[in-house]
Symmetry: C2
Subunit: 306 residues, 2 copies
Protein backbone atom coordinates (compact mmCIF):
# COMPACT_ATOMS: atom_id res chain seq x y z
CA UNK A 1 0.00 0.00 0.00
CA UNK A 2 0.97 3.59 -0.58
CA UNK A 3 0.37 5.44 2.71
CA UNK A 4 0.68 9.13 3.54
CA UNK A 5 1.40 9.46 7.27
CA UNK A 6 1.13 12.82 9.01
CA UNK A 7 2.83 13.21 12.40
CA UNK A 8 1.78 16.04 14.69
CA UNK A 9 4.29 18.57 15.95
CA UNK A 10 2.85 17.53 19.33
CA UNK A 11 3.82 13.89 18.77
CA UNK A 12 7.40 15.24 18.50
CA UNK A 13 7.12 17.24 21.73
CA UNK A 14 4.85 16.92 24.75
CA UNK A 15 2.62 19.60 26.24
CA UNK A 16 4.62 21.77 28.63
CA UNK A 17 8.01 20.61 27.37
CA UNK A 18 10.31 23.30 26.00
CA UNK A 19 11.19 22.72 22.33
CA UNK A 20 14.78 21.78 23.21
CA UNK A 21 17.07 19.63 21.11
CA UNK A 22 17.20 16.86 23.73
CA UNK A 23 13.39 16.62 23.99
CA UNK A 24 13.04 16.68 20.21
CA UNK A 25 15.70 14.01 19.76
CA UNK A 26 14.07 11.68 22.30
CA UNK A 27 10.64 11.95 20.68
CA UNK A 28 11.96 11.73 17.13
CA UNK A 29 13.80 8.51 17.99
CA UNK A 30 10.65 7.02 19.55
CA UNK A 31 8.72 8.11 16.48
CA UNK A 32 11.21 6.45 14.11
CA UNK A 33 11.00 3.20 16.09
CA UNK A 34 7.20 3.27 15.97
CA UNK A 35 7.15 3.95 12.21
CA UNK A 36 9.89 1.55 11.13
CA UNK A 37 7.80 -1.68 10.88
CA UNK A 38 5.27 0.09 8.64
CA UNK A 39 7.95 1.78 6.52
CA UNK A 40 9.65 -1.57 5.86
CA UNK A 41 6.48 -3.10 4.41
CA UNK A 42 4.61 -0.22 2.75
CA UNK A 43 5.39 2.68 0.46
CA UNK A 44 5.38 5.53 2.98
CA UNK A 45 5.36 9.31 2.60
CA UNK A 46 5.91 11.17 5.85
CA UNK A 47 4.52 14.65 6.57
CA UNK A 48 5.35 16.29 9.90
CA UNK A 49 4.04 19.27 11.83
CA UNK A 50 6.24 22.11 13.06
CA UNK A 51 4.14 24.21 15.46
CA UNK A 52 6.51 24.20 18.47
CA UNK A 53 9.61 24.40 16.27
CA UNK A 54 8.58 27.24 13.93
CA UNK A 55 7.37 29.12 17.00
CA UNK A 56 10.79 28.71 18.61
CA UNK A 57 12.50 29.97 15.45
CA UNK A 58 10.27 33.07 15.52
CA UNK A 59 11.14 33.74 19.18
CA UNK A 60 14.88 33.26 18.46
CA UNK A 61 14.63 35.60 15.45
CA UNK A 62 12.98 38.30 17.55
CA UNK A 63 15.43 37.87 20.44
CA UNK A 64 18.45 38.73 18.24
CA UNK A 65 17.93 42.39 17.43
CA UNK A 66 20.87 43.02 15.07
CA UNK A 67 19.18 41.40 12.04
CA UNK A 68 15.43 41.86 11.34
CA UNK A 69 13.35 38.72 11.92
CA UNK A 70 12.93 36.55 8.81
CA UNK A 71 9.42 36.07 7.40
CA UNK A 72 7.43 32.97 8.40
CA UNK A 73 7.89 31.20 5.05
CA UNK A 74 11.67 31.23 5.68
CA UNK A 75 11.17 29.93 9.23
CA UNK A 76 8.99 27.09 7.92
CA UNK A 77 11.82 26.26 5.49
CA UNK A 78 14.28 26.20 8.41
CA UNK A 79 11.94 23.93 10.38
CA UNK A 80 11.76 21.54 7.41
CA UNK A 81 15.56 21.41 7.54
CA UNK A 82 15.70 20.78 11.29
CA UNK A 83 12.86 18.27 11.68
CA UNK A 84 13.55 16.55 8.35
CA UNK A 85 17.16 16.01 9.39
CA UNK A 86 16.33 14.61 12.82
CA UNK A 87 13.65 12.26 11.41
CA UNK A 88 15.87 11.16 8.53
CA UNK A 89 18.79 10.44 10.85
CA UNK A 90 16.62 8.52 13.34
CA UNK A 91 14.93 6.53 10.56
CA UNK A 92 18.26 5.68 8.92
CA UNK A 93 19.31 4.09 12.21
CA UNK A 94 16.26 1.80 12.45
CA UNK A 95 15.47 0.98 8.81
CA UNK A 96 17.23 -1.95 7.25
CA UNK A 97 15.78 -2.19 3.78
CA UNK A 98 15.43 1.29 2.34
CA UNK A 99 16.84 4.78 2.45
CA UNK A 100 15.09 7.95 3.42
CA UNK A 101 15.16 11.37 1.81
CA UNK A 102 13.80 14.76 2.83
CA UNK A 103 12.59 17.02 0.02
CA UNK A 104 12.17 20.72 0.75
CA UNK A 105 8.59 21.37 -0.30
CA UNK A 106 6.78 24.54 -1.31
CA UNK A 107 2.99 24.56 -1.18
CA UNK A 108 0.95 27.12 -3.10
CA UNK A 109 -1.82 29.03 -1.35
CA UNK A 110 -4.18 31.81 -2.51
CA UNK A 111 -3.06 35.24 -1.33
CA UNK A 112 -6.72 36.17 -0.88
CA UNK A 113 -7.45 33.12 1.29
CA UNK A 114 -9.79 34.32 4.08
CA UNK A 115 -7.42 32.65 6.59
CA UNK A 116 -5.12 35.69 6.23
CA UNK A 117 -7.77 37.78 8.00
CA UNK A 118 -8.34 35.30 10.87
CA UNK A 119 -5.20 33.60 12.24
CA UNK A 120 -5.98 30.14 13.69
CA UNK A 121 -2.80 28.03 13.58
CA UNK A 122 -1.04 27.80 16.99
CA UNK A 123 2.76 27.98 16.94
CA UNK A 124 5.42 28.13 19.65
CA UNK A 125 5.10 27.42 23.37
CA UNK A 126 2.15 27.85 25.73
CA UNK A 127 2.24 31.15 27.63
CA UNK A 128 0.80 32.28 30.95
CA UNK A 129 -1.35 35.42 30.82
CA UNK A 130 1.61 37.48 32.10
CA UNK A 131 3.99 36.05 29.46
CA UNK A 132 1.41 36.69 26.77
CA UNK A 133 0.97 40.34 27.85
CA UNK A 134 4.75 40.87 27.79
CA UNK A 135 4.99 39.41 24.27
CA UNK A 136 2.04 41.50 23.06
CA UNK A 137 3.81 44.70 24.00
CA UNK A 138 7.05 43.55 22.30
CA UNK A 139 5.39 42.13 19.16
CA UNK A 140 2.21 44.18 18.64
CA UNK A 141 1.42 42.42 15.32
CA UNK A 142 1.32 38.95 16.90
CA UNK A 143 -2.11 37.39 17.60
CA UNK A 144 -2.80 35.04 20.53
CA UNK A 145 -5.55 32.58 21.34
CA UNK A 146 -6.62 31.21 24.69
CA UNK A 147 -6.39 27.43 25.26
CA UNK A 148 -7.89 26.55 28.65
CA UNK A 149 -5.95 28.85 31.02
CA UNK A 150 -2.94 29.28 28.74
CA UNK A 151 -2.23 31.23 25.56
CA UNK A 152 -0.54 30.49 22.27
CA UNK A 153 0.47 32.61 19.32
CA UNK A 154 -1.69 31.94 16.23
CA UNK A 155 -0.83 32.68 12.60
CA UNK A 156 -2.69 32.55 9.30
CA UNK A 157 -3.23 29.04 7.97
CA UNK A 158 -4.44 29.22 4.36
CA UNK A 159 -5.64 26.14 2.47
CA UNK A 160 -3.03 24.29 0.36
CA UNK A 161 -3.80 24.48 -3.38
CA UNK A 162 -0.86 22.74 -5.05
CA UNK A 163 2.39 21.02 -4.08
CA UNK A 164 5.15 22.54 -6.18
CA UNK A 165 7.54 19.57 -5.86
CA UNK A 166 4.89 16.92 -6.50
CA UNK A 167 6.67 15.33 -9.46
CA UNK A 168 9.95 15.05 -7.53
CA UNK A 169 8.06 13.35 -4.67
CA UNK A 170 6.53 10.82 -7.09
CA UNK A 171 9.93 10.13 -8.61
CA UNK A 172 11.56 9.56 -5.22
CA UNK A 173 8.76 7.13 -4.31
CA UNK A 174 9.21 5.30 -7.61
CA UNK A 175 12.87 4.96 -6.63
CA UNK A 176 11.86 3.17 -3.38
CA UNK A 177 12.80 6.07 -1.12
CA UNK A 178 10.97 6.72 2.12
CA UNK A 179 10.07 10.38 1.48
CA UNK A 180 9.76 13.12 4.11
CA UNK A 181 7.92 16.03 2.48
CA UNK A 182 5.51 18.94 3.07
CA UNK A 183 7.11 19.45 6.50
CA UNK A 184 5.15 21.91 8.62
CA UNK A 185 2.46 21.82 5.92
CA UNK A 186 4.94 23.02 3.30
CA UNK A 187 6.64 26.37 2.73
CA UNK A 188 3.77 28.74 1.83
CA UNK A 189 4.15 30.40 -1.57
CA UNK A 190 1.75 32.34 -3.78
CA UNK A 191 1.67 32.61 -7.58
CA UNK A 192 1.06 35.94 -9.29
CA UNK A 193 -0.80 36.48 -12.58
CA UNK A 194 2.41 35.94 -14.57
CA UNK A 195 3.03 32.60 -12.84
CA UNK A 196 5.88 33.90 -10.67
CA UNK A 197 6.15 32.33 -7.20
CA UNK A 198 6.93 34.24 -4.02
CA UNK A 199 6.88 33.41 -0.31
CA UNK A 200 3.97 34.47 1.87
CA UNK A 201 3.75 34.69 5.67
CA UNK A 202 1.68 31.77 6.95
CA UNK A 203 1.92 28.25 8.37
CA UNK A 204 -0.18 25.79 6.38
CA UNK A 205 -1.95 23.07 8.32
CA UNK A 206 0.12 19.91 7.84
CA UNK A 207 -2.96 17.65 7.88
CA UNK A 208 -4.54 19.64 5.05
CA UNK A 209 -1.33 19.37 3.01
CA UNK A 210 -1.06 15.66 3.81
CA UNK A 211 -4.62 15.12 2.52
CA UNK A 212 -3.87 17.04 -0.70
CA UNK A 213 -0.63 15.08 -1.12
CA UNK A 214 -2.40 11.75 -0.50
CA UNK A 215 -4.92 12.60 -3.23
CA UNK A 216 -2.30 13.76 -5.72
CA UNK A 217 -0.11 10.70 -5.12
CA UNK A 218 -3.13 8.40 -5.40
CA UNK A 219 -2.37 7.00 -1.94
CA UNK A 220 -4.37 4.08 -0.55
CA UNK A 221 -4.49 5.47 2.99
CA UNK A 222 -4.13 8.73 4.86
CA UNK A 223 -3.07 8.17 8.49
CA UNK A 224 -2.87 11.10 10.90
CA UNK A 225 -0.85 10.34 14.03
CA UNK A 226 -0.93 12.33 17.24
CA UNK A 227 -0.60 11.82 21.01
CA UNK A 228 -4.24 10.78 21.61
CA UNK A 229 -5.86 7.46 20.64
CA UNK A 230 -8.29 8.87 18.07
CA UNK A 231 -11.37 11.07 17.84
CA UNK A 232 -13.36 11.24 21.09
CA UNK A 233 -16.97 12.10 21.68
CA UNK A 234 -17.12 14.50 24.67
CA UNK A 235 -13.32 14.76 24.88
CA UNK A 236 -12.24 15.96 28.33
CA UNK A 237 -15.60 15.09 29.93
CA UNK A 238 -16.51 12.09 32.07
CA UNK A 239 -18.67 10.72 29.24
CA UNK A 240 -15.69 10.74 26.84
CA UNK A 241 -15.39 7.70 24.56
CA UNK A 242 -13.32 6.86 21.50
CA UNK A 243 -15.16 6.82 18.18
CA UNK A 244 -13.72 3.79 16.38
CA UNK A 245 -15.44 4.43 13.05
CA UNK A 246 -16.98 7.48 11.43
CA UNK A 247 -18.78 8.02 8.16
CA UNK A 248 -18.04 11.37 6.55
CA UNK A 249 -21.56 12.53 7.48
CA UNK A 250 -20.89 11.69 11.13
CA UNK A 251 -17.46 13.28 10.97
CA UNK A 252 -18.92 16.49 9.55
CA UNK A 253 -21.39 16.73 12.44
CA UNK A 254 -18.79 16.49 15.23
CA UNK A 255 -18.06 19.53 17.42
CA UNK A 256 -14.27 19.55 17.75
CA UNK A 257 -11.57 21.89 19.09
CA UNK A 258 -10.11 24.22 16.46
CA UNK A 259 -6.36 23.92 16.08
CA UNK A 260 -6.17 20.35 17.41
CA UNK A 261 -8.62 17.60 16.37
CA UNK A 262 -10.78 19.64 13.96
CA UNK A 263 -8.15 20.06 11.19
CA UNK A 264 -7.28 16.34 11.43
CA UNK A 265 -10.91 15.28 10.89
CA UNK A 266 -11.36 17.88 8.11
CA UNK A 267 -8.27 16.54 6.33
CA UNK A 268 -9.56 12.96 6.56
CA UNK A 269 -13.00 13.99 5.30
CA UNK A 270 -11.38 15.80 2.36
CA UNK A 271 -9.35 12.71 1.41
CA UNK A 272 -12.19 10.20 1.92
CA UNK A 273 -14.80 12.32 0.12
CA UNK A 274 -12.64 12.88 -2.94
CA UNK A 275 -11.13 9.39 -3.21
CA UNK A 276 -13.57 6.98 -1.55
CA UNK A 277 -10.62 5.50 0.33
CA UNK A 278 -10.09 5.15 4.08
CA UNK A 279 -8.39 7.58 6.44
CA UNK A 280 -7.56 7.10 10.11
CA UNK A 281 -6.53 9.15 13.14
CA UNK A 282 -4.73 7.62 16.09
CA UNK A 283 -1.79 7.34 18.43
CA UNK A 284 1.70 7.29 16.93
CA UNK A 285 2.63 4.25 19.03
CA UNK A 286 -0.29 2.23 17.66
CA UNK A 287 0.45 2.73 13.97
CA UNK A 288 0.44 -0.98 13.03
CA UNK A 289 -2.84 -1.60 14.90
CA UNK A 290 -4.35 1.50 13.28
CA UNK A 291 -3.46 0.17 9.83
CA UNK A 292 -4.99 -3.18 10.78
CA UNK A 293 -8.19 -1.38 11.81
CA UNK A 294 -7.84 -2.39 15.45
CA UNK A 295 -7.02 0.98 16.98
CA UNK A 296 -7.71 4.66 16.32
CA UNK A 297 -10.63 6.21 14.48
CA UNK A 298 -11.31 5.08 10.90
CA UNK A 299 -13.15 7.41 8.56
CA UNK A 300 -14.96 6.02 5.51
CA UNK A 301 -17.46 7.24 2.96
CA UNK A 302 -20.23 5.23 4.63
CA UNK A 303 -20.53 3.67 8.04
CA UNK A 304 -21.06 0.24 6.48
CA UNK A 305 -17.54 0.28 5.02
CA UNK A 306 -15.86 0.93 8.33
CA UNK B 1 27.91 17.81 -19.36
CA UNK B 2 27.32 16.96 -15.73
CA UNK B 3 28.58 19.90 -13.66
CA UNK B 4 28.83 20.33 -9.90
CA UNK B 5 28.66 24.06 -9.11
CA UNK B 6 29.56 25.36 -5.65
CA UNK B 7 28.39 28.86 -4.69
CA UNK B 8 30.06 30.64 -1.80
CA UNK B 9 28.06 31.88 1.14
CA UNK B 10 29.80 35.17 0.26
CA UNK B 11 28.31 35.16 -3.25
CA UNK B 12 24.92 35.16 -1.46
CA UNK B 13 25.88 38.08 0.80
CA UNK B 14 28.47 40.81 0.49
CA UNK B 15 31.19 41.72 2.98
CA UNK B 16 29.81 44.04 5.65
CA UNK B 17 26.15 43.34 4.81
CA UNK B 18 24.03 41.96 7.65
CA UNK B 19 22.60 38.52 6.81
CA UNK B 20 19.08 39.91 6.45
CA UNK B 21 16.28 38.37 4.44
CA UNK B 22 16.18 41.28 1.98
CA UNK B 23 19.93 41.13 1.27
CA UNK B 24 19.77 37.34 0.91
CA UNK B 25 16.79 37.53 -1.42
CA UNK B 26 18.45 40.12 -3.68
CA UNK B 27 21.64 38.09 -4.04
CA UNK B 28 19.85 34.76 -4.44
CA UNK B 29 17.76 36.19 -7.29
CA UNK B 30 20.90 37.55 -9.01
CA UNK B 31 22.50 34.16 -8.50
CA UNK B 32 19.56 32.32 -10.06
CA UNK B 33 19.63 34.63 -13.10
CA UNK B 34 23.36 34.05 -13.53
CA UNK B 35 23.01 30.27 -13.25
CA UNK B 36 19.88 29.80 -15.36
CA UNK B 37 21.50 29.68 -18.84
CA UNK B 38 23.91 26.97 -17.68
CA UNK B 39 21.20 24.99 -15.86
CA UNK B 40 19.03 24.94 -19.01
CA UNK B 41 21.78 23.30 -21.07
CA UNK B 42 23.74 21.11 -18.66
CA UNK B 43 23.00 18.60 -15.91
CA UNK B 44 23.70 20.76 -12.86
CA UNK B 45 24.12 19.94 -9.18
CA UNK B 46 24.22 22.99 -6.95
CA UNK B 47 26.10 23.14 -3.63
CA UNK B 48 25.93 26.32 -1.56
CA UNK B 49 27.85 27.72 1.39
CA UNK B 50 26.19 28.86 4.61
CA UNK B 51 28.82 30.74 6.65
CA UNK B 52 26.86 33.97 7.26
CA UNK B 53 23.54 32.14 7.66
CA UNK B 54 24.60 29.39 10.07
CA UNK B 55 26.43 32.06 12.08
CA UNK B 56 23.22 34.10 12.29
CA UNK B 57 21.26 31.04 13.44
CA UNK B 58 23.84 30.48 16.20
CA UNK B 59 23.54 34.12 17.35
CA UNK B 60 19.71 33.90 17.32
CA UNK B 61 19.83 30.63 19.27
CA UNK B 62 22.07 32.18 21.93
CA UNK B 63 19.99 35.39 22.14
CA UNK B 64 16.82 33.48 23.15
CA UNK B 65 17.68 32.16 26.61
CA UNK B 66 14.53 30.12 27.38
CA UNK B 67 15.59 27.13 25.23
CA UNK B 68 19.24 25.94 25.13
CA UNK B 69 20.99 26.63 21.82
CA UNK B 70 20.72 23.76 19.31
CA UNK B 71 23.96 22.01 18.23
CA UNK B 72 25.68 23.12 15.03
CA UNK B 73 24.55 20.09 12.99
CA UNK B 74 20.94 21.16 13.58
CA UNK B 75 21.74 24.75 12.59
CA UNK B 76 23.38 23.53 9.37
CA UNK B 77 20.17 21.57 8.67
CA UNK B 78 18.13 24.75 9.25
CA UNK B 79 20.42 26.68 6.90
CA UNK B 80 19.92 24.00 4.22
CA UNK B 81 16.19 24.61 4.60
CA UNK B 82 16.47 28.39 4.38
CA UNK B 83 19.01 28.74 1.57
CA UNK B 84 17.69 25.74 -0.37
CA UNK B 85 14.21 27.25 -0.31
CA UNK B 86 15.32 30.70 -1.46
CA UNK B 87 17.49 29.25 -4.26
CA UNK B 88 14.79 26.81 -5.37
CA UNK B 89 12.14 29.55 -5.44
CA UNK B 90 14.38 31.95 -7.36
CA UNK B 91 15.44 29.25 -9.83
CA UNK B 92 11.83 28.12 -10.40
CA UNK B 93 11.06 31.68 -11.50
CA UNK B 94 13.82 31.83 -14.13
CA UNK B 95 14.01 28.24 -15.41
CA UNK B 96 11.71 27.25 -18.24
CA UNK B 97 12.65 23.67 -19.00
CA UNK B 98 13.23 21.81 -15.78
CA UNK B 99 12.27 21.69 -12.13
CA UNK B 100 14.50 22.07 -9.14
CA UNK B 101 14.62 20.07 -5.94
CA UNK B 102 16.49 20.51 -2.66
CA UNK B 103 17.59 17.35 -0.87
CA UNK B 104 18.53 17.59 2.78
CA UNK B 105 22.00 16.07 2.86
CA UNK B 106 24.02 14.48 5.63
CA UNK B 107 27.78 14.14 5.16
CA UNK B 108 29.82 11.71 7.20
CA UNK B 109 33.01 12.87 8.92
CA UNK B 110 35.52 11.13 11.21
CA UNK B 111 34.98 12.01 14.86
CA UNK B 112 38.76 11.92 15.34
CA UNK B 113 39.39 14.34 12.46
CA UNK B 114 42.21 16.67 13.61
CA UNK B 115 39.99 19.61 12.55
CA UNK B 116 38.05 19.17 15.81
CA UNK B 117 41.16 20.36 17.69
CA UNK B 118 41.78 23.41 15.47
CA UNK B 119 38.68 25.34 14.34
CA UNK B 120 39.24 27.09 10.99
CA UNK B 121 35.84 27.60 9.33
CA UNK B 122 34.54 31.21 9.67
CA UNK B 123 30.80 31.58 10.34
CA UNK B 124 28.57 34.56 11.11
CA UNK B 125 29.29 38.27 10.77
CA UNK B 126 32.55 40.20 11.03
CA UNK B 127 33.12 41.71 14.47
CA UNK B 128 35.12 44.68 15.74
CA UNK B 129 37.60 43.91 18.54
CA UNK B 130 35.10 45.27 21.10
CA UNK B 131 32.24 43.14 19.74
CA UNK B 132 34.48 40.09 19.74
CA UNK B 133 35.52 40.69 23.40
CA UNK B 134 31.85 41.01 24.43
CA UNK B 135 30.95 37.74 22.66
CA UNK B 136 33.96 35.95 24.20
CA UNK B 137 32.73 36.71 27.69
CA UNK B 138 29.17 35.56 26.81
CA UNK B 139 30.21 32.45 24.87
CA UNK B 140 33.51 31.30 26.42
CA UNK B 141 33.64 28.15 24.25
CA UNK B 142 33.54 30.09 20.95
CA UNK B 143 36.81 30.55 19.03
CA UNK B 144 37.59 33.63 16.93
CA UNK B 145 40.11 34.38 14.21
CA UNK B 146 41.46 37.73 13.07
CA UNK B 147 40.84 38.77 9.44
CA UNK B 148 42.68 42.02 8.72
CA UNK B 149 41.37 44.35 11.47
CA UNK B 150 38.15 42.39 12.06
CA UNK B 151 37.27 39.12 13.76
CA UNK B 152 35.06 36.16 12.92
CA UNK B 153 33.93 33.12 14.85
CA UNK B 154 35.57 29.89 13.60
CA UNK B 155 34.31 26.32 14.08
CA UNK B 156 35.69 22.85 13.36
CA UNK B 157 35.64 21.90 9.69
CA UNK B 158 36.36 18.17 9.34
CA UNK B 159 36.94 16.54 5.93
CA UNK B 160 33.88 14.99 4.25
CA UNK B 161 34.17 11.18 3.95
CA UNK B 162 30.83 10.08 2.45
CA UNK B 163 27.56 11.62 1.29
CA UNK B 164 24.73 9.71 2.96
CA UNK B 165 22.07 10.66 0.38
CA UNK B 166 24.29 10.01 -2.67
CA UNK B 167 21.95 7.51 -4.29
CA UNK B 168 18.95 9.84 -3.94
CA UNK B 169 20.98 12.62 -5.58
CA UNK B 170 21.87 10.35 -8.52
CA UNK B 171 18.23 9.34 -8.90
CA UNK B 172 17.02 12.95 -8.91
CA UNK B 173 19.60 13.79 -11.59
CA UNK B 174 18.51 10.81 -13.67
CA UNK B 175 14.99 12.25 -13.42
CA UNK B 176 16.21 15.54 -14.98
CA UNK B 177 15.92 17.53 -11.77
CA UNK B 178 18.23 20.43 -11.03
CA UNK B 179 19.47 19.27 -7.62
CA UNK B 180 20.45 21.50 -4.69
CA UNK B 181 22.40 19.35 -2.23
CA UNK B 182 25.18 19.30 0.37
CA UNK B 183 24.14 22.81 1.46
CA UNK B 184 26.63 24.37 3.84
CA UNK B 185 28.91 21.40 3.11
CA UNK B 186 26.26 18.97 4.37
CA UNK B 187 24.92 18.23 7.83
CA UNK B 188 27.90 16.72 9.69
CA UNK B 189 27.28 13.21 11.03
CA UNK B 190 29.59 10.52 12.42
CA UNK B 191 29.19 6.73 12.27
CA UNK B 192 29.96 4.57 15.31
CA UNK B 193 31.41 1.04 15.26
CA UNK B 194 27.92 -0.48 14.96
CA UNK B 195 27.14 1.70 11.92
CA UNK B 196 24.78 4.04 13.79
CA UNK B 197 24.80 7.67 12.63
CA UNK B 198 24.67 10.68 14.94
CA UNK B 199 25.11 14.43 14.49
CA UNK B 200 28.40 16.10 15.35
CA UNK B 201 29.13 19.79 15.95
CA UNK B 202 30.98 21.16 12.92
CA UNK B 203 30.54 22.99 9.62
CA UNK B 204 32.04 21.07 6.72
CA UNK B 205 33.72 23.09 3.98
CA UNK B 206 31.23 23.24 1.11
CA UNK B 207 34.00 23.19 -1.52
CA UNK B 208 35.43 19.97 -0.07
CA UNK B 209 31.95 18.37 -0.10
CA UNK B 210 31.36 19.63 -3.65
CA UNK B 211 34.64 18.00 -4.78
CA UNK B 212 33.69 14.69 -3.13
CA UNK B 213 30.22 14.88 -4.67
CA UNK B 214 31.63 15.68 -8.13
CA UNK B 215 33.87 12.60 -7.90
CA UNK B 216 31.10 10.32 -6.66
CA UNK B 217 28.66 11.53 -9.33
CA UNK B 218 31.31 11.15 -12.02
CA UNK B 219 30.84 14.82 -12.95
CA UNK B 220 32.63 16.31 -15.94
CA UNK B 221 33.40 19.61 -14.25
CA UNK B 222 33.69 21.12 -10.80
CA UNK B 223 33.06 24.88 -10.84
CA UNK B 224 33.52 26.94 -7.69
CA UNK B 225 31.87 30.36 -7.85
CA UNK B 226 32.61 33.29 -5.59
CA UNK B 227 32.73 37.09 -5.66
CA UNK B 228 36.27 37.37 -7.11
CA UNK B 229 37.33 36.63 -10.70
CA UNK B 230 39.54 33.65 -9.89
CA UNK B 231 42.83 32.80 -8.18
CA UNK B 232 45.23 35.73 -7.94
CA UNK B 233 48.98 35.78 -7.53
CA UNK B 234 49.81 38.46 -4.89
CA UNK B 235 46.13 39.09 -4.08
CA UNK B 236 45.69 42.48 -2.43
CA UNK B 237 49.09 43.75 -3.57
CA UNK B 238 49.91 46.12 -6.44
CA UNK B 239 51.48 43.22 -8.34
CA UNK B 240 48.22 41.19 -8.17
CA UNK B 241 47.26 39.34 -11.35
CA UNK B 242 44.73 36.65 -12.21
CA UNK B 243 46.09 33.16 -12.83
CA UNK B 244 44.08 31.93 -15.82
CA UNK B 245 45.38 28.36 -15.73
CA UNK B 246 47.08 26.22 -13.12
CA UNK B 247 48.46 22.70 -13.14
CA UNK B 248 47.92 20.81 -9.91
CA UNK B 249 51.64 21.19 -9.14
CA UNK B 250 51.37 24.96 -9.51
CA UNK B 251 48.16 25.03 -7.49
CA UNK B 252 49.79 23.08 -4.68
CA UNK B 253 52.64 25.60 -4.47
CA UNK B 254 50.43 28.69 -4.08
CA UNK B 255 50.37 30.58 -0.78
CA UNK B 256 46.68 31.36 -0.20
CA UNK B 257 44.50 32.73 2.61
CA UNK B 258 42.99 30.04 4.85
CA UNK B 259 39.20 30.14 5.00
CA UNK B 260 38.77 31.90 1.65
CA UNK B 261 40.71 30.89 -1.50
CA UNK B 262 42.78 28.02 -0.03
CA UNK B 263 39.86 25.55 0.47
CA UNK B 264 38.59 26.32 -3.06
CA UNK B 265 41.94 25.50 -4.64
CA UNK B 266 42.35 22.40 -2.44
CA UNK B 267 38.90 21.15 -3.50
CA UNK B 268 39.77 21.66 -7.20
CA UNK B 269 43.12 19.89 -6.77
CA UNK B 270 41.36 16.97 -5.06
CA UNK B 271 38.85 16.62 -7.92
CA UNK B 272 41.41 17.08 -10.73
CA UNK B 273 44.00 14.76 -9.17
CA UNK B 274 41.54 11.93 -8.65
CA UNK B 275 39.58 12.25 -11.91
CA UNK B 276 41.92 13.87 -14.45
CA UNK B 277 39.09 16.25 -15.32
CA UNK B 278 39.02 20.04 -15.20
CA UNK B 279 37.96 22.30 -12.34
CA UNK B 280 37.57 26.08 -12.34
CA UNK B 281 37.21 28.94 -9.88
CA UNK B 282 35.64 32.25 -10.84
CA UNK B 283 33.01 34.94 -10.49
CA UNK B 284 29.38 33.87 -10.23
CA UNK B 285 28.37 36.42 -12.88
CA UNK B 286 30.82 34.96 -15.40
CA UNK B 287 29.67 31.34 -15.17
CA UNK B 288 29.12 30.84 -18.92
CA UNK B 289 32.50 32.37 -19.80
CA UNK B 290 34.16 30.23 -17.11
CA UNK B 291 32.66 27.09 -18.65
CA UNK B 292 33.89 28.24 -22.07
CA UNK B 293 37.38 28.65 -20.62
CA UNK B 294 37.40 32.42 -21.19
CA UNK B 295 37.20 33.62 -17.60
CA UNK B 296 38.24 32.47 -14.14
CA UNK B 297 41.05 30.12 -13.19
CA UNK B 298 41.12 26.65 -14.76
CA UNK B 299 42.89 23.85 -12.94
CA UNK B 300 44.09 20.80 -14.87
CA UNK B 301 46.37 17.83 -14.26
CA UNK B 302 49.06 19.40 -16.45
CA UNK B 303 49.64 22.92 -17.69
CA UNK B 304 49.51 21.71 -21.31
CA UNK B 305 45.87 20.67 -20.93
CA UNK B 306 44.76 24.08 -19.76
Amino acid sequence: MRIVIAIGGNALLQHGEIASFSHMQTHVEQCAKALAPVCQVHEVVLVHGNGPQVGLLALQNHAYKTVPAYPLDCLVAESQGLIGYLLQLALANVLTRQTCVTLLTQVEVANDDPAFRTPTKPIGPFYTSAEKRALESEQPHWTFTQMNDEWRRVVASPAPKAIIEQSAISQALANKQLVITCGGGGIPVQRDASGKLSGIEAVIDKDASAALLARKLNADRLIILTDVDGVYQDYGLKSAHLLTTLSIDEANQLQLAQGSMAPKVEACVDFVTKTGKTAAIGNLNQISAILAGEKGTRINLNKALA
